[in-house]
Symmetry: C2
């Protein structure tokens, strides 16, 4: 009776859905399957009114006949019978951005799973949404089904966030944790992941760290009250990680994970500077992130009062992403209207990119070398000359893999610039057959 | 400039604080330390106006002179210059409940860290708050600084929650993980924990699982849309776990954790029934909860679209609890006004307590026996007669500890009632020198 009463009192939240890929179809399935509980929690029904996608005839396993169809996606924004547009088209520019702008310009709410668009145009879109007094929400853009945007915007809102870091790309984590379990090479594992649908035919965005960098730049904006600055993310992928690196890390008590990390430091001129990096790192086996395997995502936020918080779950996929999209819709239905990035865009600080040279860290270095006398002396001399103190040389410095000789070592804690200097000294050395791989070691 | 403008436009949210223990003092410190960012994120200042506690003279390391003092706590609810009362007094009845009722009756918001009060009186308080159109929030009541109430109310709002379980008591987890690391006995570890401030002088609420049961009943209400039913939580503490149990679990590939778990099943009459239990369990070493050590809390929520989500962090302490209290205040300042338990109290279902006998599970059983011939035959015969199939007898069935003989075994998956039946058969046996310890084995 109570729900009946509410339903008759509260009009439905009317949705237009652009993009009918797996997530779009998943969202329709979710709203069908969980209709009663979504209505009860939202305080009113959430009702899809119109949809648009490239191909009208494709069978998506859901009944589309009950929705109006727009062949021109941007026409969704112009409809008078819509409160919120859900954008699941993807791509930072083009139709998705066009639709987003038109939706906000017509004072409709926008919910999107599009991390690239938010990373590149989130500031503009949020400013326009705030000016129009309408909602812009993007929980699904970061870490799939994990409510980490909400966790940072609201859950940790009382804290100065000191650091945020985590595993933000499921494909890379699947590959690294599979290499760890099987001992297989990167190339073989990537091919396997592609076969199983964990990696796309063109895996560039995932394995080069770009997808993780999109997400990191969004999280950093919320966590630090900074204007999103995707271009300044220092980004390196996992393609150069070898089975031998994983084996060596294991012997040292670590696993290798692609870690997105951001923090703020005070620059020499006294202004805050933002460090954002996505890189493969050594993670101690006792650290919560070391136990994150497969396509799972996990985000750690360190607040000055909350301490270390961990949010973990499925980082992608039909169900989890649909779960995040509909959570945003329920928030809108409930009247939650605070600023997309926690504070108004005008209050977000433009922060210069931090230079990392003075930062202290322990480092893993791996060299691919010719097998001749004097190589080790040359490398260790460069380290000495650059002020890098070697903590351990692994397996007497020689690991054969695929006919090559690898030299791996761990450097004591010291300034990152010293390591960079050592590599510079070795840059033109004929002993090195490929650029060295350098990985930070995360503290426990 | 933007913030100035907002500040002058938006009046402060005016707070009364009842209870000046560590969390109360921590909240004052947080609002001092993070004043600028709290104001920016809340859209207006959050300002303590009046405070009350038993002892006015005690030095709490914070300046109280700037706040009005009320020696009668309930007078806070009557003040005309207050928007929200923060109750940090504790206790399910008495002054805390009196203050909570008066606060809501005077249409002020109530924020509380009081799990016992919400577990026992949350339905009444939420109903009154909804009727008065005022906020009731209790993030700090469950798992300290982890935003898991928000995570369930909002983050997973699109999902039917299939199961919720986790580590909800930091003291018990500290003791169990310390026993694991040191091999020490329960009594010695408890004494150590008391010495270090991880356990109270009277540790009953923590080690008997009552504190975890309070939290579990609150989470279950939100997750399953059920009326809170603390009394039906099947609750067992950790005092009977021995070092030998931990050692045996380790050999089998498990750790022992105090797990609060709730799910809903369909009763024989077709109505939903709620199972809530707090018990020490065996957790596989590959499970995320197995890596949760020390006073940390962690909650797993399994949604029908989100899949498995994990929220982890500090479950108690001055900073984390203050972080949760102020997050609630920021929500109120932003105008977030949805139902305390996600749906209105009138829509929460009264659910009968599920009987667990038909449930299937693998079980660890440990008997304390006299060291004489025939004991093992007696136990295994009882198992056979009750239909319990033994998967493994550990160390040939005999483990000596402190002059006693322990027999541990793992039973194959089967109905819980069969195990209960077997124990019934052995109840009057003179061979058993103490009641057996039975622990469920959590699936990976």
């Amino acid at each position: 009776m109570v729900q009946q009463l509410q339903t008759s009192e509260s009009p439905p939240l009317r949705i237009a859905l652009a993009g009918l890929g797996t997530v779009g179809a998943g969202m329709i399935r979710l709203l069908d399957t969980n209709a009663d509980l979504v209505r009860a929690r939202a305080g009113r029904p959430i009702q899809i009114v119109a949809v648009s996608a490239r191909d009208r005839t494709k069978d998506r396993g859901v009944d589309l006949g009950r929705f109006a169809w727009e062949s021109d996606m941007t026409a969704l924004a112009a409809r008078g019978d819509i409160d919120v547009v859900v954008e699941l088209v993807g791509g930072s520019e083009g139709p998705a951005l066009d639709l987003a702008r038109k939706t906000i310009a017509s004072a409709k709410g926008l919910v999107t799973a599009n991390k690239a668009m938010i990373a590149h145009h989130g500031m503009e879109l949020a400013r326009e949404a705030e000016a129009a007094g309408t909602a812009l929400k993007f929980e699904a853009a970061v870490a799939g089904g994990i409510p980490v945007v909400k966790g940072l915007r609201e859950g940790t809102a009382a804290n100065a966030i000191e650091r945020i870091y985590g595993i933000l790309n499921g494909t890379s984590n699947y590959i690294l944790s599979t290499m760890e379990a099987t001992g297989a090479s990167f190339d073989a594992t990537l091919a396997d992941a592609q076969g199983k649908g964990y990696a796309e035919a063109d895996p560039t965005f995932d394995i080069e760290g770009i997808d993780a960098a999109h997400k990191l730049s969004i999280l950093a904006g919320i966590a630090f009250g900074a204007r999103i600055d995707f271009d300044s993310v220092d980004c390196e992928g996992i393609a150069r990680v070898r089975a031998a690196d994983i084996a060596q890390a294991d012997k040292l008590g670590y696993v290798i994970r692609l870690i997105g990390m951001a923090d703020v430091e005070c620059g020499e001129d006294g202004t805050p500077q933002l460090l954002q990096r996505v890189k493969p790192c050594l993670v101690p086996k006792g650290h919560p992130l070391a136990h994150v395997t497969g396509a799972t995502n996990a985000v750690v936020a360190e607040g000055n009062f909350s301490g270390r918080l961990l949010f973990q779950g499925a980082g992608a996929g039909e169900g989890p992403t649909a779960s995040a999209v509909v959570a945003d819709l329920i928030d809108i239905a409930r009247g939650e209207t605070s600023a997309p990035f926690s504070v108004p865009v005008g209050a977000l600080k433009p922060m210069a990119a931090a230079t990392s040279g003075h930062r202290l860290g322990r480092t893993y270095l791996r060299f691919t070398v010719t097998d001749r006398p004097g190589v080790l002396a040359e490398i260790t001399a460069a380290m000495r000359d650059a002020g890098v103190s070697i903590e351990s040389l692994i397996q007497e410095g020689k690991i054969a893999e695929g006919g090559e000789v690898l030299v791996a070592m761990v450097a004591h804690e010291g300034p990152e610039r010293n390591v960079a200097h050592a590599l510079k000294l070795l840059e033109s050395s004929p002993s090195l057959t490929a650029p060295p791989l350098v990985m930070q070691i995360i503290a426990g």
